[in-house]
Assembly symmetry: none
Homo-oligomer: 227 residues x 4
DNA sequence: GATGAATGAGACTTCATTCAT
DNA sequence: CATGAATGAAGTCTCATTCAT
């Protein structure tokens, strides 16, 4: 009966959305099934009809979301041909997508740890997938000679870590003076990461720290070490 | 009564040590006051005499530990004169110290999130302290012209994030093939981060990704010291 | 519409059989409507179409089964003319029938108690029916002078209790050394019960306790038929 | 600290008493920890501090009670020298004691089955202990030649079953016409059981079935089969 | 200061039952 | 007639915290 199945599917989505909302608001531990059910306009039993337990909700949420994000990232990578550009694209999409869904980002970056070892392991797996994605591009870039040889496993981890940290700060901080816009963050991060692998930063403009960022010379014009 | 105070202090230390042990073994949520009390050779009531609640134990543990680490980092910074070397030293000390105390690192990086918003805020504060420490050095380097101007707030965050990610991976992964040694990690990370600010990498040797890392040529674009 | 009624009846039977199977396997409390429905090749809704609730299934099962057994017992009684022989026959049939359907016996003797007061009351009623059946024969035997006057209400209860206990032990025990065969049990129980009302034990042979039962002399005080 | 331990012990007793009361009133399944706690004048957590779970309360109750009863029975047995008299004494004490504590009898005879297989197994064990006690006396009686050889394992089971059934009926029935007094029950049961093993019934007086039981001839004067 | 029995709010989960399709 | 998604009351159990001793 496709009618019931359709309803079931839609209800699952509703529960997942509600779970994301409640968890991002309250944290995983404080998020009660009751509240998730209320926000999904169903009952505790209804939630347990669709999911075997609380952890599995978060797991499903994780898979669902990471699948979506991963799809976007792979799409963005495929649209570029140059390895360095691919890596750049991957980061750009991650940054945009996660920033757009603050609550989800909070859930996975911050609140996830309370969910027990199984869940942490899963988060690590997924992060590794993204790290692997980045690393593939770095390896390709090394292979083509675009960048110098390096331990791309570590570097890819570092990239993801840098991205996470900057993003988390953006996502958790309140708007105010000193807070960078997403574009500023992207620009600075992009330049920093590309420099970190010795790649040129096309059309780069860096911002100095402090109240209002102002444009500075591009990397190319910064011939100090280049001479 | 200094005698009693000393005894109280020592008892507090014992509880903190026990808490660190239990939390790193079980995670914050699973760590029961009872078990911490048992490991500290006292009773539940004893724990509550010294700390007003469970969260405050973790908070105290956090302050105690971050204070120690901070001291080491500041000492290392003071021992260097060059801003870039200072930043480099800060990272080196963080890497060494946290790697040495895996369980504590796990506690703050992974298990902490289950402890509620107050605790997360505190962790963020402490990270910001370290970020600020790094940023000061970067700002100084910019001021001396050693590196190009940049948004050091973001870059410092990225550095810490990169360090955290790489370190966390090192701390949580099991030994095996493909696992890098702490020295290899340090070398790669150092080169990557220094490159990311356009600083020269003294005595750089990079490792290629793959089974067993092997040293390669130094970065061509960084031939200044090499010539 | 006799066709539909027949189908309904057959579906009810299927559900009853499934219920008997599941309950004897899992116990009443652990037997879920879902599992019964599955085993009856229908759905939860289907079960609730035929029965108003879980308890009513067990009640119907009880009535159905006790009706069958009662029929057999009455038939066996009718086939004898001597009151004592009638009582003897009733016990024989009960013993054989319940032993043949271990699972049902378990359901009513052991698992039933979890089903609530209404069900317990019903079990008591049914037991009373059998007790009454036995008692009638005992009263007749007293009336004909075959046995001495006695409080047959109590004695009949005692008989049923003795039968239940011995049978339950047989039904719940695993095969092994020391376990009596159904024939041995019947023989001993028959002799014991007949003696208990002062009736002669035709062709009596008693078994001694211990490893392997062996026939012994008939009861001395009952030498009437033996001489 | 004996003070706290004493309090704990007394609280355990209070919980056991409350559990017996609630279970006998509501049945095992319907007996909620909350209600038991309320009746024991403590809290849910208090109950769980003293007992690891609901089933263990019933188990403790069972052990406690069966220990008491067993002690009384053994004492009564020791006070007699003749094997048949010992068996008789055992039954008398069981009858009196269980009748005196109706609620406990109900708990073990009727409500117990809902408590799961582990509990049922334990009840069976305890019943077997009493059966073994009876059987020992029967074996001794056989050995002394007081009664004829027989399969005492079965007979002892039958005795316990008879006792249980009669007692359960007494305990669960409401007072009214036709209800036998405990003394009448004892007298009839005693005569019946002694006859069942071919033992003489000293000073026996049997009651006929029907409205008001009336005394009849003693077994000895009933020379029909005796001649 | 220390102890541990006791508290009680609240968590997750189950399942007989209902009802729209 | 049948289905199975949905309900919601009730259950067992945990654990941070309190407090009399």
């Amino acid at each position: 009966m496709p009618v019931q199945q359709a309803r079931a599917r839609s209800r699952q989505q509703k529960i997942l959305r509600a779970a994301a909302s409640v968890i991002s608001r309250r944290g995983y531990q404080e998020a009660g099934i009751e509240e998730i059910a209320r926000e999904a306009e169903t009952s505790k039993g209804g939630v347990y009809f669709h999911f075997p337990g609380k952890e599995s909700i978060l797991l499903a949420l994780l898979d669902h979301t990471s699948g979506l994000v991963r799809g976007k990232v792979e799409q963005a990578i495929a649209a570029e041909s140059d390895p360095v550009a691919k890596a750049d694209a991957a980061l750009r999409v991650l940054l945009r997508t996660l920033a757009k869904h603050r609550s989800l980002a909070r859930v996975f970056a911050v609140e996830a740890a309370g969910a027990g070892p199984q869940f942490n392991a899963r988060v690590a797996e997924i992060q590794d997938e993204f790290v692997a994605l980045v690393r593939e591009q770095l390896d390709a870039a090394v292979a083509t000679g675009a960048i110098v040889p390096m331990d791309t496993a570590i570097v890819a981890q570092a990239w993801m870590g840098a991205l996470d940290a900057v993003l988390l700060r953006y996502v958790t901080s309140r708007p105010g003076p000193g807070r960078r816009s997403l574009d500023e963050i992207h620009e600075t991060l992009r330049a920093t990461l590309l420099r970190s692998i010795g790649a040129p930063v096309p059309g780069a403009a860096v911002s100095v720290a402090g109240g209002s960022p102002r444009p500075t010379n591009s990397i190319e014009t910064n011939g100090l070490e280049r001479r």
